[in-house]
């Protein structure tokens, strides 16, 4: 018996009206598909042009500064006749320290809150609580900065910082005069700002873990905490790491909130309680006054450095995630 291929099956007989309708649909599908492809490519091209245009214009405006100091701009900044030096190296270190403090504070609290919201909280609590946390993201940066300066700073100066100085073993981190505005305060304010991102994305990741994993852990005798620790969180690790990378991108680029609480002191901070400066705060403080020419070009050079660091963090994070996903895919 010969096997019949699909192509050999004759098409069903259509009434004339149906035949016309089908002919029209086939006719529209082709240009419709083409129109959709055009739209798709236009959107992608416009977006790419905007981003590339931004990068190219920034590089062009900062070329004078880089030409003047060469690669040493990255650590010692620019020196010009009026002694306007922007110590880029200090700003980069400040940016990394404040971001690190923010991540150290926000990730445990954020992932813990997300785990609570997705696994342990009753329904009547989880909804309103997650709305409240998302509201933090809606507060404008300058309001958070003002709150940090007017409310948190005195609390830090009078209670938190003296307390931290007394903890034995942590003197290397916490020593020296503490007036309130400091790397620690800036890191705390940043942590408050990135918390909603981490909570929202981690919660989605945790909810995405298959129920079978939870049930399997339960079946093996795990307690609730052990289920979360051994089955749920490891399963959601990729999502949580993506959340952390996104939050880090926000913390790196924050300007006005940091500028209000970091003390704007262009010296290497000797402890977390010392004031400092970050790329964002330096840019916002100096851009208004920058004289056109080498001055303004140096500030845009700072912008380029910040952009490069943010891009590195994001791209590096994406690569790490992709490698992890591929590994997980291969194993699973």
């Amino acid at each position: 018996m010969s096997t019949t291929l699909l192509e050999e099956v004759p098409p069903p007989r259509l009434t004339p009206i149906e035949g016309v309708k089908e002919g029209l649909q086939r006719r529209w599908a082709r240009p419709g598909g083409r129109a959709y492809a055009v739209l798709r490519w236009t959107g992608a091209t416009v977006f790419a042009v905007i981003v590339l245009g931004l990068v190219v214009s920034l590089l062009a405006s900062s070329s004078q500064a880089f030409g003047h100091s060469g690669l040493s701009f990255l650590w010692s900044g620019t020196y010009n006749a009026t002694k306007d030096i922007y110590p880029t190296g200090i700003f980069i270190i400040g940016t990394l320290i404040t971001t690190a403090v923010a991540i150290i504070l926000a990730v445990p609290i954020g992932v813990g809150t997300a785990a609570f919201l997705s696994e342990l909280a009753p329904k009547w609590l989880a909804g309103p609580l997650s709305v409240l946390i998302d509201l933090i993201a809606a507060v404008p940066s300058i309001v958070v900065g003002l709150w940090g300066l007017l409310v948190l700073s005195p609390v830090f100066a009078r209670h938190v910082e003296p307390f931290l100085k007394k903890i034995p073993g942590l003197e290397w981190f916490f020593h020296g005069p503490a007036y309130g505005p400091s790397m620690l305060l800036a890191g705390t304010v940043l942590a408050v700002m990135i918390l909603p991102t981490i909570v929202a994305l981690s919660r989605t990741a945790l909810q995405g873990v298959a129920n079978e994993d939870r049930e399997a852990a339960r079946a093996l005798g795990a307690t609730r905490w052990q289920v979360v620790r051994t089955a749920v969180v490891p399963g959601a690790r990729t999502g949580i790491e993506a959340a952390v990378i996104l939050a880090m991108g926000r913390a790196l680029g924050e300007t006005i909130a940091v500028a209000m609480v970091i003390g704007n002191n262009n010296a290497l901070p000797h402890s977390l309680l010392a004031p400092g400066a970050t790329l964002g705060s330096a840019i916002i403080n100096n851009f208004g006054e920058a004289n056109p020419g080498l001055d303004r070009s140096s500030i845009i050079g700072l912008v380029v450095v910040l952009l490069a660091i943010t891009a590195l963090v994001n791209v590096g994070g994406q690569l790490l995630l992709r490698r992890r996903l591929r590994a997980e895919g291969a194993v699973a």
């Binding site: 009026t82 505005p181 003390g263 704007n264």
Partner: protein
């Protein structure tokens, strides 16, 4: 400071008085109000008005009738600067940006002008002198204001910029030292030492030598400065260059005063006068420079600075007026009155300069601007003293008037004749 801010917010919302509110850090707006009383407004709370405000230019609008008086149209040129023109149709919303230090004065003076002439309302954004200069040079605002005039010749995208002195203010060196009253004596070398990080304790020998009778605590000094560029910073920098000695001029500070504070690795930097004032208020041992009007509002203890004649003078309206009286040949090119002569002179004083284009593309707008600032520099000066500024001396008022007379329309014809 939060309570002050909250009370000020409520007071402003309820009674629309222009007592300088510290609610907004960057923007403030004084738009037309609904009350049309010409008496002193109810609830002029914290400050006593220097004099009952006169309804400004003659032939003012009556409170209730809408029938317009016989005033000329604002597009008619060649009139007097002090005459009124019909600003009700169309009404004018002017936008300005510039120095943070003049904000209390501008808020009050624009409110009173709006009371006298309902058709003109002004929105002033006190984001800083350099923002004001950039904005007017790029012609994105109707007027700018800067504590330091633009280097002459002042030009922007729309041509020549006129620089009109509108205000005389001072910079207070405020400190927060529990147990020590106001009037602590400081001079150039000690202030330079403090801001260079060399003098670190309040009971340092240099400070004690200037204040023999005072019991100084051993608190650490926390110097606060402006993180953004500022007119008060320029004044203090100029004073330290003049009197601070080689330790200041030989350091990164150099010999040319700059609106950007030169020594940025000592002390804490805060944004705007409100940021510096807030930090001084909440930190024991802090010392910083703020516009005198802000220190008056916050009831700070201010230092008595050594002036060029050798006497120690605290900032006050009379001392600032004495500094302004020394400005014999004031002009945009010769604007510096820091460390001026005179026994009663306060050394840190400066005029504030409004920036408007000489050639006004829109004649009507040019006429309105000219009349507004002529009012501000004459009748409006009555509002200055209550806030901590000093009224302009007669010669400076005349200079403002002369400068405004050079306003031209797009064709180059003078807008005013007298």
């Amino acid at each position: 400071m939060l309570c002050l801010g909250a009370v000020a917010l409520v007071a402003a919302a309820c009674s629309s008085t222009p007592t300088a509110v510290k609610k907004k850090v960057h923007k403030t707006s004084t738009s037309s109000t609904t009350t049309s009383t010409t008496a002193a407004p109810a609830g002029a709370t914290t400050t006593t008005a220097a004099a009952a405000p006169t309804t400004a230019p003659p032939a003012a609008h009556t409170a209730t009738t809408t029938a317009p008086k016989a005033t000329t149209a604002c597009s008619t040129t060649g009139g007097a600067l002090s005459a009124t023109c019909d600003t009700q149709s169309p009404s004018f919303k002017l936008a300005g940006a510039g120095a943070n230090s003049i904000q209390p004065f501008f808020t009050r003076v624009f409110y009173y002008y709006n009371q006298a002439d309902k058709g003109v309302s002004v929105n002033y954004s006190p984001a800083g002198s350099s923002v004001g200069v950039t904005d007017i040079q790029q012609n994105t605002v109707n007027f700018g204001d800067s504590e330091i005039p633009i280097k002459t010749p002042a030009t922007g995208t729309a041509g020549n910029i006129l620089q009109v002195p509108v205000d005389l203010g001072g910079v207070a060196i405020s400190y927060n030292l529990p147990g020590v009253g106001a009037g602590l004596k400081l001079d150039g070398p000690t202030l330079a030492g403090i801001y260079l990080g060399k003098i670190t304790k309040w009971n340092d020998a240099a400070i004690a030598a200037l204040n023999p009778g005072t019991n100084l605590p051993s608190t650490t000094i926390v110097p606060v400065r402006r993180a953004d560029s500022s007119g008060p910073g320029y004044d203090l920098d100029q004073y330290l260059i003049d009197t601070g000695g080689a330790q200041w001029t030989g350091s990164a500070a150099g010999t040319a005063a700059s609106t950007k504070w030169p020594i940025t690795n000592v002390g804490i930097g805060e944004q705007l006068n409100t940021g510096v004032a807030g930090f001084i208020q909440q930190t024991a041992g802090a010392i910083g420079y703020v516009e005198y009007a802000y220190s008056l509002q916050a009831s700070f203890t201010n230092a008595a600075l050594k002036n060029a004649a050798g006497s120690f003078v605290k900032p006050s309206q009379s001392a600032i007026a004495a500094a302004g009286a020394q400005a014999a040949n004031l002009s945009a090119a010769n604007f510096n009155i820091v460390n001026g002569p005179g026994a009663a002179t306060y050394p840190l004083a400066n005029f504030s300069w409004t920036l408007i284009y000489q050639k006004q593309a829109n004649t009507t707008l040019g006429v309105v601007l000219g009349k507004l600032f002529d009012w501000v520099t004459t009748t409006g000066q009555q509002q200055a003293a209550a806030l901590g500024y000093s009224p302009l001396p007669a010669n400076v008022s005349a200079l403002a008037h002369q400068t405004l007379l050079t306003l031209q329309n797009a064709a180059g014809q003078a807008l005013f004749s007298s």
